[in-house]
Symmetry: D2
Subunit: 413 residues, 4 copies
């Protein structure tokens, strides 16, 4: 992962970029990213509450992402991409999650798939896939869920076949490419492959209907004797082999962290906006003494947000530094990043749920009107924070404290 | 309020009554109540998650309540009712709220309206209304919201006219009778009246669409020069006059408390059921060691529930004892009940929200499937606990601790 | 345990008894208890902060307890005692703990020793010991700690010898009688015996110097070939044999609960007193608007206290009802009491620590003056709540919720 | 404040410097600091628990600080000091606070006094004082407390006289110099002056005896017609005048934050050490399965600590950047630093109290032995976090969120 990456211009950080009249529709370099993201996010925001009610696939938003050029954000520039590092990419994810955590998830997991190709496969595999993705605006979907052992991989002479079902396949719908996993019939090892979503035998089911993250297309995929060629299998170095390959689940975890932070920020902004515009005609100097408990609650929300923001940012910087070590990355380097991400994950889970739950105590009874959709922040965060148990992270951190043992790499640690 | 009341048979308390084959469809005495409630609640439960999605008025459930005879639960037996005191009535409310907190609210507020007639009006007013209610299975709705000052009462010779709009009118839809309030045009005093819902000039709007308590019919009512006769006005003793009349808001608050407890109990039962049946094949002695964090979480939920149950029950007993004093009830008696209810309200708000939010941490990611509807507990409780700010109750209790000042009676204290 | 017991007069409950000029020095019937306790508690209060600094044995207070007649509080009246049940006795413990949780512990554990005689021994054993205790004002100490396995019991013909050390022996200092345990040399069974503290070979060490509960005399006892006669051994029914015998640890746990509640009440009262008298010249109507955050904190403390009080009282009533069943007591009866006590223990631990920790936030910086000794509440509670891990109780309650398994009886459950 | 400062070598940050045999006794440049601090801290640690019991002034430790050269840590190098910026200085404070939060406070407030001279006074005032301090190892004490209005300043021709008492004067005992404040007799303005502690009329009282921070010498100072010369008064720019002068209370607040963090770190380290060495023979691979609740608690402590460390560090960097602006510092610059410090203060208060309170739940009953002194962390933090109410900070942050109003500068904001 030692391809040159560069930070995005600072303007990303504060998200305050004004969308100029002549804002680019498509990012052709990192310098365009802030404006393109700003315009995209405004569009997502205008329909997010409605689309949360509808569920289903956010087809229009996915196509806007394709047109935006941002699907190439983490692709090296020599392969036609924008060459962004993870910390600025996660900044974009966070910005999207403020208004639409489903689309943010699809966007982030697309880039996780691109990283998976690099971390599990050979350069002659991932480089063409990255190049095609940048040129053709491919959207990658995830059919990797290693906890679902129903999909089997059988060797048939020079090729393989995947058969069986796979659940929690975020972004498989409307994708051009998939990363899928299966367990080998003979030795039960996990086989991970990249393949076109349109290949014969693949059926993407529209069976995702959950209380939150409703537009993440996280339903099931059915494989019926789907042919996989040898060079589509990511076996060198393969999944969770070297410390570098073991960075993949850390990227996934840090994506979750940034989506949690983004949801919490969105809830906070909505609460603030509602309080200022609808609950009270609050103006500096308007003579209305604000409720001291409302002030203190906003103070608490702010303290919580600032804490998780700095923890999330620190973990992002550490991730980029670790990836920059490439194959020199050691177990200890990986372990330090894992701890930093685990800390950020626990903190953002708790702080986020607190804000999403308590925001109504500052906005009051009328803010429960369904049209405002203020409950979707809690539903989205509550759903997404169950990805893997937060108690497991606490236990792992306790193991670190008492035994100086880093978390054992797995698809969740 | 010194009419003889009697406790319901103990069987109500544990809610474990088996619905016998020949269970009565209609309660004709307090001895029937347990079985009738049990059958009703089973019916409500089977459609509650679906009706939560649909919203609108639970017409079928309202009609079942009419046929059940339970709309006469708190009506004195000499007027054709079942003569139940409040504590057992609140037990029924809590049982209903476990499976359907919207219907529980409609049922409870119907009885609050009956109590309002007794506490604000003269015997020659409330006794016939109670008698008709018992005989004709009238359902009473609420258009009293005193915070909404848009409805005006104008005197026109020997009668009055109400004109204007009123929000948060729980149960007005599909009601036979309403209790409504307006502010007098001349002296701005609050006028409270009882009148048929079908009277000319009344329009009940279907404008309730909120994130929780979706079937409480809590929309707006429009009054267009609605005629009110002198004997329909509850002015002797009138609203919030004597300590006894000031018990009305306490009944309302304790209804809320029992709905909160019921919602929390329902969430707890659902979490337990899901964990035992779907998450794990949990059987004593099955050799699967349960997750220690899941066990401790259930332990915490149980500690919380037991605490709010005993606080709620204590407040219910104190309420009945205070009401039994009738006009001898003093400010201090009223204040003690107010404190007990405020304590139960704060505790049930916090414990309930904690359980409804954290239940997912024991049930896991798959329990976010929309078909299970496990989020409705949080949405219902979150919505209902905003009725009036819990921080206000804490402040009132602090005033009590430091100044031995009882809460100043209002429609919320 | 079916000897007739009677509740104490109500006056105990509110602790507001005024010490009349001619208040009895010694309780000769339950009717005297309130006044005697009131006078004792006032005396303890006046020196509690100082004695906390000094540590050591509260010899003067132990002698006052002897003279008060209260060491016979739970002894049946036909044996010369006051015949009080446990719930009112625990009320006395709670009152004492408000001002001096060390002396409260010594007093309560004395009565636990008396109950131990009844629950583990034969009537012809415990009745004379109770009678002597009532007549001679014996104080019983505890050398039972079954987790300390260093003391061995060897059979020597017709008698036995205890040899070894025993830690955490509350109240052994300055006691007339001890209950001690040892592990049998041959079959490793726990042997429990009652014996005079002055018996040859017993050395009570003054080695208790802890951060809290500093005057509980909870140091070590050394046994050097201490002779124990056959009829001093409590083996019929013996420790933790029948469900009734298994009530002993529940009494111990409920004593802890009431001490925790008493400490929390004392901390609350001190905070209130300081706020009213020293922090602010707080008078109703004095025109000083109280700090809204201070009010809300006091409101929260009050909500917490009310919750643990009702849970503690409920458990006390259930304990007395269960003991009244005598040998008819079944496993299920015992289990219900165990659950109620576990719930009260978790709640009082958490609520108490919260109050003792946060009280300073309402009293402010000046209240940290050492002379006020306001930190002793936290030190006492923090020490005492470590008796056995609260997490274990949560796990046991989780087992109950998911598996309907009652806690397995042990000396801690 | 635009004198050149430099960061300390990285070695400070991790505190892991080994004290070499030939470690310097006195820091003569920033390169010596890490080793000198390391040796000092080891010495402080060995007697901290005992000195906490004794109270009084830590004379020996103060003299070690004098000899260490660290009293010149923040003094510009051209004036004979070590020229350290605040962020590394606060790192030293945090290291000291891990083992002795009283001495850490004295050391930090000495440097706060030096900063006060620079921020409130003219270069021709503060430069000689700094130079003398560096050369003569002066220790500065604090008699500034502006909330105590008892000290009056009277003008007498060309000089002034201070008369009256001043409380909470940290470090006045055994100091060479004092910064003191008084209210002008004529116009009630706050007058701040620097003067020798030995001047006639000054009596430093030994009346500090509190539950925590027992060796901070924070007692009262009595002024009896103490002569103050014109050039000893810091009136140009004077207290809280320019945005730069208003940085003084922010430095004070950030010192508190770092002491809170240090105390929490010390408590955490003690808990870890005790758990590993005394509670359990914990070794990786020793076959003892650790308690899952203990692991999760340590995980929670670690998450909390990491959060407050990053918030504290961020605030420190912002402080140094702001001070580097010198007189160009604007209200907005100052406000941003104030917010960052307020966030860190709320978070470190809460996280620290949680760790200091709950550490016993992982170490267990035996860890309450007085000789271990594990309660001193809670007593120190509980005392110090009352310096000014944390609720005020929450309210100020709420004002910022809703009204974009920065905290109004005061001696506490």
């Amino acid at each position: 992962m030692n391809t040159v990456t560069q930070p995005l211009p600072d303007i990303i950080a504060d998200g305050a970029a004004e969308a100029a009249v002549d804002a680019p529709r498509r990012a052709r370099s990192v310098h365009d990213v802030a404006q393109v993201v700003h315009a995209l996010v405004q569009g997502f925001a205008s329909t997010a509450a409605l689309r949360d009610l509808q569920g289903g696939s956010p087809k229009a938003q996915r196509d806007e992402l394709r047109r935006s050029g941002l699907l190439a954000l983490t692709i090296p520039s020599e392969l036609g991409g924008l060459g962004a590092a993870w910390q600025p990419t996660l900044g974009v994810v966070r910005q999207m999650a403020r208004v639409d955590s489903s689309v943010a998830h699809l966007f982030a997991f697309h880039h996780l798939m691109l990283a998976t190709l690099r971390l599990f496969g050979r350069p002659e595999q991932w480089r063409p896939w990255h190049e095609h993705t940048a040129r053709l605006d491919w959207f990658w979907g995830n059919a990797l869920n290693p906890l679902d052992r129903r999909t089997v991989c059988r060797r048939l002479g020079g090729h393989f076949e995947f058969s069986g079902k796979k659940s929690f396949c975020s972004g498989a719908t409307d994708s051009e490419m998939l990363i899928a996993s299966a367990f080998a019939e003979d030795d039960d090892r996990l086989v991970v492959a990249a393949l076109p979503s349109a290949r014969s035998g693949i059926t993407v089911l529209q069976d995702w209907d959950n209380i939150g993250q409703r537009q993440t297309d996280s339903g099931s995929v059915n494989f019926e004797r789907v042919r996989i060629d040898e060079d589509e299998i990511l076996r060198d170095p393969g999944p969770l082999t070297t410390p570098l390959a073991c960075m993949r689940p850390l990227i996934a975890q840090l994506i979750l962290v940034n989506i949690y932070i983004g949801i919490a920020e969105g809830a906070f902004e909505d609460a603030k906006h509602y309080t200022l515009r609808q609950a009270h005609p609050w103006q500096p100097g308007d003579g209305i003494e604000p409720d001291p408990y409302v002030l203190a609650s906003f103070g608490e929300f702010f303290v919580g947000l600032e804490g998780v923001r700095v923890l999330g940012d620190r973990a992002g910087r550490m991730l980029d530094e670790a990836l920059a070590l490439g194959s020199a990355l050691g177990t200890r380097d990986r372990g330090e990043v894992a701890n930093a991400i685990a800390v950020a994950k626990v903190a953002s889970t708790r702080t986020g749920l607190d804000i999403c739950n308590r925001l109504f105590e500052v906005t009051g009874a009328r803010s429960t009107h369904a049209g405002l959709g203020l409950d979707r922040h809690w539903r989205n965060l509550r759903t997404h924070t169950l990805h893997d148990p937060v108690q497991r992270k606490l236990k792992e951190l306790g193991d670190w404290v008492l035994g100086e043992r880093y978390p054992t790499p797995s698809f969740y640690s």
